[in-house]
């Protein structure tokens, strides 16, 4: 019996979410008096996982898996879960992991709880706390199946270093042709820019910016902070910014450490997507803007005055703290 995690890497480096689910799984494993095993695919150096409590890595090396194939990846995880007799399997809330987790759950006839935000409240019966109703409430969910699949919300647990010693094992899964039924013909990835999914800090702007030509200062603020840029829905609908930047209930969810909203009113559908961000800062001319009700820090002021001044202050701060 073990707690299994599926770790994702990017250009040979584990994603931060992989360390976060390892940290989480270690705590769950401790309460179940067992250990954490990680599944890695085409990973070369897995040693960093040991820092976060992973004591065994099962690595699959196969060039057919250099491209993401949801069903093939799910088959790898299912086979390793069965071999390791895993009772709890933890996934991150990344695009790819959310693609695979339901396939793994159904293959193992396991219940799946997504958007989990805390350690199990109980392990017998097994109960977890999850975000529901677009982050407007939490659900305490009880899982009754023998195997339980959990999807951990990003940044909800953080990183906890618990160094352990690590063993490595290679595994050769079996595949069927159907595993490769979705044939990728093209992938476009914006390189060099922090993406909303990976960002610790997100700088977002709304219709208050008046036009696409005014986004220079938003990009500069983001660049000073090493942040990703985002926007409200009307802004992407009018075409001022790409759709990939639209956050909210019908856009992307943002669970960043810091979310800065400039000229965004704070409509309920926008807030639904950013509620799980830790610290929210609002810059808005209207002191009655609903965003101030959910924000931690606020500046009532004109973005065209505040943002350039804030950029200067942050540059000085960065220089002093470099």
């Amino acid at each position: 019996m073990s707690v299994l995690i599926y770790t994702e890497s990017n250009e040979g480096k584990f994603k931060k979410t992989s360390f976060e689910i390892a940290s989480y799984a270690k705590k769950v494993a401790d309460s179940l008096e067992t250990t954490v095993t990680a599944v890695t695919i085409n990973a070369s150096d897995v040693s960093s996982l040991a820092t976060f409590g992973v004591s065994k890595v099962v690595n699959v090396t196969n060039s057919d898996l250099n491209t993401f194939h949801a069903r093939a990846y799910a088959d790898v995880i299912k086979q390793i879960a069965t071999k390791e007799n895993a009772k709890v399997i933890v996934f991150a809330s990344t695009t790819d992991s959310l693609h695979i987790a339901p396939l793994v759950a159904v293959g193992l006839d396991a219940g799946f709880a997504s958007n989990v935000i805390a350690l199990p409240e109980n392990t017998s019966p097994f109960q977890v706390k999850r975000n529901a109703f677009s982050n407007k409430a939490f659900s305490i969910t009880e899982m009754t199946t023998d195997v339980k699949v959990l999807g951990l919300s990003k940044n909800s647990f953080g990183l906890v270093e618990v160094p352990v010693s690590l063993t490595e094992e290679a595994f050769t899964p079996t595949f069927s042709d159907a595993d490769f039924g979705v044939k990728v013909t093209n992938a476009e990835k914006s390189t060099g820019k922090v993406t909303i999914a990976d960002a610790e800090i997100v700088v977002s702007a709304g219709r208050g910016l008046k036009g696409p030509e005014n986004w220079g200062m938003i990009e500069e603020l983001a660049s000073v902070l090493g942040a990703a840029t985002a926007c409200s829905k009307p802004v992407s609908d009018i075409g001022w910014r790409p759709h990939s930047e639209h956050v909210g209930q019908t856009g992307k969810p943002v669970a960043a450490n810091l979310y800065i909203a400039v000229g965004i009113s704070g409509a309920i559908q926008h807030i639904a997507g950013i509620n799980s961000s830790k610290v929210k800062v609002v810059i808005n001319t209207d002191p009655e803007a609903p965003f101030f009700k959910v924000a931690d820090y606020g500046v009532v002021g004109d973005a065209f005055d505040v943002v350039p001044k804030l950029i200067e202050k942050l540059k000085i701060f960065k220089a002093n703290n470099a």
């Binding site: 987790a101 759950a105 677009s134 969910t141 899982m143 044939k183 942050l314």
Partner: protein, 248 residues
């Protein structure tokens, strides 16, 4: 081409979220229900495919009688027939198993669901359904072209998008982008009138039990008031973000 569109019947986006019975049940009092926004994109895509290349479009919901108004709305938008599986939806696995039965009975080529519903936000039904059917699956689908018995799909990936070619039967989990928002169909009078004559079939559940259940709900603790910083004192904001919030 036979298309099945899975429709979730959810509280309108602006609904106040409250609970009753000692916080064990969602309070439906005064709540307006709608077609789940992600499913609306899928339904419009199915209707467009029907108009452009001919298709039979069925909509399905696993739920109680109250969902019939939502299914009628989907018929008014252009679906040909509707199925309601007469079961209370408890969790993703149970719903997926009911849908699996509907797909097997109806022999659909293309199954369109929404990436997630805005009530429980599980994001699992489409993947589970594809897993149960053993067919191809594209999640977070923002583009779909159909040619004969195969499709070209575009899915969202972290920081970009990915195009793939994939054969039927196929399950996609769609979202905004699958069709433009301006192209979303709303029921017109003629649609509403013809919807009345379309078949809404009630199917009994195959009685699979759920794997998870919500035992209690909680609301987030009341937030402390926002700390306002003067626009003339942004050093203070930088200081708060560094020393108090510890995020920079």
């Amino acid at each position: 081409m036979k298309i099945l569109v899975c429709i979730s019947h959810v509280p309108d986006t602006t609904s106040k979220i409250n609970f009753v019975n000692n916080d064990t049940e969602f309070d439906t009092n005064g709540v307006q229900y709608v077609i789940n926004p992600n499913d609306e994109f899928g339904l419009t895509k199915a209707v467009l495919l029907k108009e452009q290349q001919g298709a039979h479009v069925t909509v399905v919901n696993v739920g109680g009688t109250d969902a019939e108004a939502t299914l009628r709305k989907a018929l008014a938008i252009g679906a040909d027939e509707a199925i309601r599986v007469n079961a209370t939806a408890i969790d993703g696995l149970q719903v997926a198993k009911e849908l699996e039965n509907v797909v097997k009975q109806g022999g659909y080529d293309l199954i369109i669901a929404g990436t997630e519903s805005i009530d429980y936000n599980g994001g699992m039904v489409p993947g589970m359904l594809a897993g149960l059917l053993g067919c191809n699956f594209v999640n977070a689908c923002i583009g779909l072209e159909v040619a004969g018995s195969s499709a070209t799909t575009i899915r969202e990936i972290d920081g970009g998008k990915e195009t793939a070619s994939v054969a039927f039967p196929l399950v996609i989990a769609g979202k905004k982008g699958l069709v433009e928002e301006k192209d979303l169909r709303i029921p017109n009078m003629r649609g509403i009138m013809t919807a009345r004559t379309k078949v809404l079939q009630i199917v009994e559940p195959v009685a699979t039990s759920a794997a998870t259940k919500s035992v209690k709900f909680e609301k987030p603790a009341a937030k402390s008031a926002v700390k306002l910083v003067s626009a003339d004192n942004l050093d203070e904001l930088v200081n708060l973000l560094h020393n108090e919030a510890k995020v920079i």
